[in-house]
């Protein structure tokens, strides 16, 4: 096992009970690990992890042991979206657009549209399901996984990377691309190598569409691979992002279909013109080097030029396609490195390889992971540990996370309870804390939306913020209280809870308070909180009502907002 500074804690963490050092005891360290590397403990889990030894649990989470989850797998089978291919999703999207066009459409041939609709239906094994339903399922299954998965760290990292490589699910074709992106690009590499994630996202139709690289073509002044051929209007791969009529041929007479000339003119007017820097800029600023990563506007332009021609094969299965005709064949220079003229797709591959290993990338990503796992203001020590692991393993995400967990900063008393939960972390940890089970309907996702963090719906490419300052506002806090009370009284739509399993019903308020403190707050209940809840319990005689109130106040109270 490689030497990392945190290993000096190893004997302490594996042994229970621990000596009076940070962390103060095995239960505290187990709870801390469950809060940070997962979505908080389920009933009894703190004790179980402490018994196992917290670092053994971490190793299992990192995939060094057997972590099968048949119970979750059988529930995943209920979600049709996981069995629906990107091609089918595209067909559904196209079908929806076609349907809209068909309404009172006078310029289009109705027999053609009817045929396209039939094709779309045939392609879809999901029958009457529409895209909206499928994408709602994707939210539901994501919440189910976060709540129920044994692979908690995997789920947290999947969320981290989904957010880092943010794509807005409701932008045009991304409605059709997103599920595939989540399952086969993000989740497939969430515990793998960073470079694979970077290349995966760079070549994903979801990202190519979201950040407009599909629209980026060589400037007219630049020499393209096929300089004599301007991108023709009927090349589907070059149609710009937001255009809502992909299934309609552009040229009148193509495939023998009639087209309104006005529509043709409008489509032509939307043809991409020149370089689009959106993806290039975010690739440097957000995905790799970071905003202070030392690149210039010239670098952004050269990156954009390198990536001209990286687009979507809209005639095929809507996968990645390198379109030489749109590629800028000139020589480029990025961060001082020369990219000789005319290397085509290889230029972009080389660029991504360089970016994945750049010191600024290592530092940016390490700091962001430390902010997620340790503290909003990530301590330098754990960032250094993470960067060293990154260098040593060429960006193996598991090793970088291991280094962070083994860093003394991770276990420092100042790190405990130091982070405020995001709405997602709050909702999932509350449901887990009371042993709740999501029913698989979109209702839990709707609750999360009400608290301000609808899944996959961050419009801007920077994703949802990591720091608490962005999440804590008054309306949202009141919403969390309402959520907690509904959950505790088993009235939250979309979840069933069984408080009997975790907090015995009792007519002794002190016993109730102690039980709530131990199971839900990990003993962190302050005297003020205890007094406040006790005062509320005073005139409640029904033990079940008292329990629901105490649990609701505890989950909606300030201690539970922290992790």
């Amino acid at each position: 096992m490689p030497h990392v500074p945190g290993l000096r804690l190893l004997p302490l963490l594996l042994a229970a009970p621990l000596a009076a050092q940070a962390p103060s005891n095995a239960l505290d360290s187990a709870r801390h690990a469950l809060n940070r590397l997962g979505y908080g403990p389920t009933p009894g889990q703190v004790e179980a992890v402490a018994r196992e030894g917290v670092l053994r649990w971490v190793d299992r989470q990192l995939g060094f042991g057997d972590l099968r989850d048949p119970a979750l797998a059988s529930r995943e089978a209920d979600f049709a979206v996981l069995r629906t291919s990107r091609r089918e999703m595209v067909a559904l999207h196209t079908d929806q657009v076609t349907r809209a066009l068909r309404a009172q459409a006078q310029g289009a041939d109705s027999a053609t549209i009817e045929r396209m609709r039939a094709e779309a239906r045939a392609l879809s094994r999901t029958g009457e399901r529409d895209l909206r339903t499928l994408n709602a399922e994707l939210q539901s299954v994501t919440l189910l996984r976060a709540v129920a998965s044994e692979r908690q760290l995997g789920e947290v990292l999947a969320d981290f990377w989904t957010n880092h490589f943010n794509v807005y699910i409701a932008k045009g074709f991304d409605r059709a691309y997103f599920a595939d992106y989540l399952e086969r690009t993000i989740r497939a590499h969430a515990l793998g190598r960073f470079e694979d994630l970077l290349v995966g996202t760079a070549t994903s139709p979801a990202m190519l569409f979201y950040l407009d690289n599909v629209q980026s073509v060589a400037d007219t002044t630049a020499v393209t691979a096929q300089a004599t051929r301007r991108p023709a209007a009927n090349r589907p791969a070059q149609r710009p992002g937001q255009m809502p009529r992909p299934a309609v041929p552009v040229r009148p007479g193509e495939r023998g279909q009639a087209m309104d000339p006005a529509m043709v003119e409008q489509l032509r007017a939307r043809m991409p013109r020149g370089l689009n820097e959106n993806y290039a800029r975010e690739l440097l600023e957000l995905h790799t080097l970071g905003v202070d990563g030392g690149y210039t506007q010239d670098d952004v332009i050269h990156v954009a030029r390198i990536l001209t021609g990286w687009t979507i094969d809209r005639r095929g299965d809507h996968g990645f396609q390198f379109l030489a005709a749109a590629h800028d064949r000139g020589a480029k220079t990025v961060l001082g490195q020369a990219f000789p003229a005319g290397q085509g797709e290889a230029e972009g591959r080389a660029l991504l390889a360089m970016l994945a290993r750049h010191p600024a990338t290592m530092h940016h990503l390490s700091a962001k992971l430390c902010a997620r796992f340790v503290a909003d203001a990530a301590p330098d020590g754990c960032i250094d540990d993470a960067v060293r692991a990154w260098k040593r393993t060429d960006g193996d995400i598991r090793e970088v996370v291991r280094a962070i967990v083994h860093s003394p900063d991770f276990w420092a008393p100042s790190a405990m309870h130091a982070k405020t939960k995001t709405p997602l972390e709050f909702v999932v940890s509350a449901v887990r804390a009371v042993g709740g089970t999501p029913d698989g309907t979109p209702r839990l996702a709707q609750q999360l939306q009400r608290l301000g963090q609808p899944l996959f719906s961050q419009v801007t490419p920077n994703g949802y913020p990591e720091t608490s300052a962005e999440w804590v506002n008054s309306g949202a806090l009141l919403g969390r209280m309402t959520f907690a009370v509904a959950l505790a009284s088993n009235r939250l739509p979309g979840v069933t809870v069984q408080l009997d399993r975790i907090v015995p019903s009792t007519s002794d308020p002190e016993a109730l308070l102690e039980s709530v403190n131990r199971t839900l707050l990990g003993g962190a209940m302050t005297a003020r909180t205890r007094n406040a809840i006790r005062a509320e319990l005073r005139d409640i005689s029904d033990p079940r009502a008292a329990r629901a109130l105490a649990v609701g106040l505890a989950l909606g109270g300030p201690e539970f907002q922290r992790q």
């Binding site: 006078q106 529509m263 007017a269 506002n473 008054s474 309306g475 009141l478 406040a532 106040l553 909606g556």
Partner: protein
């Protein structure tokens, strides 16, 4: 990243409180005291109404005097006889006729050919730019209305200073200044299945947070409980529409009615945000009747009821409509219009110099169009928004609100 006053206050709140010198709390306590004594000065309010989906500005405010309007819109042009003429050149869509008396009284102005310098035709990007106030710059995390609140301190900071109607805080109000998202005033706060338990539960949570919360959570929860208390005391939702105003039953009407209630209850509302969708009329847009006409009818009803309801208080209130871009001059093959560029926006109330259409009209002739197809933009939306912030709210420095934007000559919307 610049540290705003708000973020500083929140992060350092404990330290300041321990010195007994948290200016935010001092401000707020003073305001609460004035409120109890009934001496709240009637502040100015700006209501931003976002027409999401890109309204067809050429149907809303029809350039009836431009021959190209009639040539390129054979099927969807509003009938000549139905138009509500404004000034000979421009006319209101007939379903906005309810706004004509406001025009005649000089409290409605129109800015035409207004929009974003960004050429994007993506709803998502264009809305984002209009709310962040930084066209073509995706990395801006805050909204311009929030940045205004961060930097303008002349206004009392009440919990209701900035309110967005909807389940989530929109981009325009995102940022470090406090802002409330209220889906419905009638259900705001801590709620249980049985309404009679809400007060008690709210009190319980309040005592819980008073004792145990620290930092951000403490100040934010205090603001939330303060909002609940202010609502309970002022009880704005009990105010019936005044002056015989009749709000429709649309979500927009409900939101506008609740904005009016907050204003009438003197809760210190400075910026309200309301949005309304349904403007993305690619197919079967209609003319004097139809899909777009129905939306415009709702809009006209809600605005008209709002101004009637507020009566004289409209002197202190401006409603500003906005939409991410306009739509193509030419109708498309499906009786609709596609994503365009310039559009029209309305400024209603306050000290606006109404009864005028502001902005240079570029004309609809093909060679005057943006990219050969759309109404060109002759007024940057930031010039309009900035003029409303200075002319109505009294803003003096917009450098942080619309960074890197240098406005041209003033439109002259305010006296």
């Amino acid at each position: 990243m610049p540290i705003s006053r708000r973020a500083f206050m929140k992060a350092g709140g404990l330290a300041l409180v321990s010195l007994g010198a948290d200016p935010l709390f001092v401000d707020r306590a003073a305001y609460a005291l004035r409120a109890q004594l009934g001496h709240v000065p009637s502040g100015k309010t700006l209501v931003c109404l976002f027409q999401r989906g890109a309204v067809d500005g050429l149907s809303m405010i029809v350039p009836a005097g431009d021959p190209w309007y009639w040539r390129d819109r054979q099927r969807i042009a509003v009938g000549k006889d139905d138009l509500v003429s404004l000034d000979g050149m421009f006319a209101l869509h007939p379903r906005l006729a309810t706004l004509k008396p406001l025009w005649d009284r000089g409290s409605l102005a129109v800015v035409h050919a207004v929009g974003s310098p960004s050429a994007t035709r993506s709803h998502f990007d264009a809305q984002d730019y209009m709310e962040s106030g930084t066209p073509d710059r995706k990395s801006t995390t805050s909204g311009w209305a929030n940045r205004y609140c961060q930097h303008a301190h002349e206004h009392a900071e009440t919990a209701f200073r900035a309110v967005a109607f909807g389940p989530q805080l929109p981009r325009i109000l995102a940022g470090s200044a406090p802002a409330l998202a209220i889906d419905d005033l009638r259900t705001f706060g801590v709620r249980t299945a049985r309404a009679e338990g809400n007060d008690r539960l709210t009190r319980a949570f309040e005592s819980l947070y008073e004792g145990a919360a620290t930092g951000l959570v403490a100040t934010s929860s205090a603001e939330g409980f303060e909002a609940i208390k202010m609502l309970k005391t002022a009880n704005p939702t009990a105010l019936p529409p005044a002056n015989g105003a009749v709000y429709g039953r649309s979500k927009l009407a409900t939101s506008m009615q609740q904005v009016a209630q907050l204003i009438r209850a003197d809760l210190g509302l400075q910026i309200a945000f309301v949005d309304v969708g349904g403007w993305d009329t690619h197919v079967n847009q209609g003319a004097g009747q139809g899909q777009l006409a129905t939306r415009l009818d709702e809009l006209g009803q809600a605005l008209s009821a709002f101004t009637t309801d507020l009566g004289d208080r409209m002197r202190d209130v401006v409603v500003l409509t906005m939409s991410e871009f306009g739509r193509t001059v030419k109708e498309n093959g499906t009786g609709g219009t596609d994503h365009g560029h310039g559009t029209a926006m309305m400024v209603l109330g306050g000290g606006v110099r109404g009864k005028q259409v502001f902005g240079r009209w570029p004309g609809l002739a093909p060679d005057a169009r943006h990219e050969g197809r759309d109404l060109a933009v002759t007024t940057d939306f930031r010039a309009l928004f900035g003029e409303v912030l200075t002319g109505h709210l009294g803003a003096t420095d917009l450098s942080a609100v619309f960074p890197e934007f240098v406005p041209g000559p003033r439109l002259g919307l305010f006296g």
